[in-house]
Symmetry: D2
Subunit: 101 residues, 4 copies
């Protein structure tokens, strides 16, 4: 399954690049395929691997802030693998052209 | 922490009351405090209890549908307990009046 | 359509009951049917009415904070009206029992 | 502001690349900067431009399906421009390395 998540500390200032970088370090070490976008982090894997990772990231953020707001979206489709790039490529194929990356 | 989640089967028809009722049965048996709203289910508990429950609900829905879209929102605040009602009551106290339930 | 939204100021402190109360005052004056939950505000109406309201609430919060994070979920179903209570009642009917409010 | 949105038809089949491609065509013609990811579409612009676009995309999907579920996330920060790439680059700068695109 593909999962997008974003973890935001409440009440710790507007600048989030530092906290997000510490989260991405954890994601990177997990070995799961991932993509960082301007709105969240997209990972692909089985439930326990993905949610073990998100739990670790959320807890890390809670060490920095007394209140944390986390949003998670799951797209879970039978037999789907390699879909972080694959879903975008399917749309490009239907459109008959490549999109900006 | 308080967690709202919604689990939607894709491609299985527009009418969702039946699938949602089967999910609510699982939530009810979990023993966690919860509230069903028109847009999702709100539960309160520790990470492992809440995500154990959501995993079970998500898997149940995947037995009915080959593709499932799940959204989860976490509000995790230090020392916060009894917040499904408490957060609404805090806003009512600030407003100086009760809101429709 | 039914729409749930939550508007969170980033970097302005952990306590959100005050800012949320000011938003609810705006929602209340709009005349649209609504419900405040611990995780957001649910309103029902046509696109322009609902998004006119959310724009006003979001702008109000931006006067208090230099950065604002807003989440919106739409459930738009043909001919559906009175669904803030109706959807929960449909699930209760399927379950054959009433849920806690 | 930066806004991510995803528009999903309920009950019209599991395969969404076709409907999503028709949405992306509308986004592309809008002239707003955008990025398609596996989990949604990210656009940058002022409120009225962004929500005029999302309304048009949502309505297009409603012509194909009697029920549509749309999720929208806004990150609105004062004076922020060019942030679809900029936010990712800020994290890379903090990490001291480039991330996979």
């Amino acid at each position: 399954m593909i999962v997008e998540f974003s973890i935001v500390p409440i009440g710790k200032g507007e600048e989030l690049a530092g906290p997000v970088a510490r989260i991405i370090d954890i994601v990177d070490r997990s070995g799961l395929p991932y993509q960082l976008t301007s709105m969240g982090t997209i990972v692909e894997g089985e439930w326990d691997d993905v949610f073990g990772l998100i739990k670790e990231c959320h807890r890390r953020m809670r060490q920095e802030a007394g209140r944390v707001s986390t949003h998670i979206t799951i797209d879970d489709r039978e037999h789907a693998r390699g879909r972080i790039q694959g879903k975008v490529e399917d749309v490009e194929k239907t459109l008959g052209r490549q999109l900006k990356k």
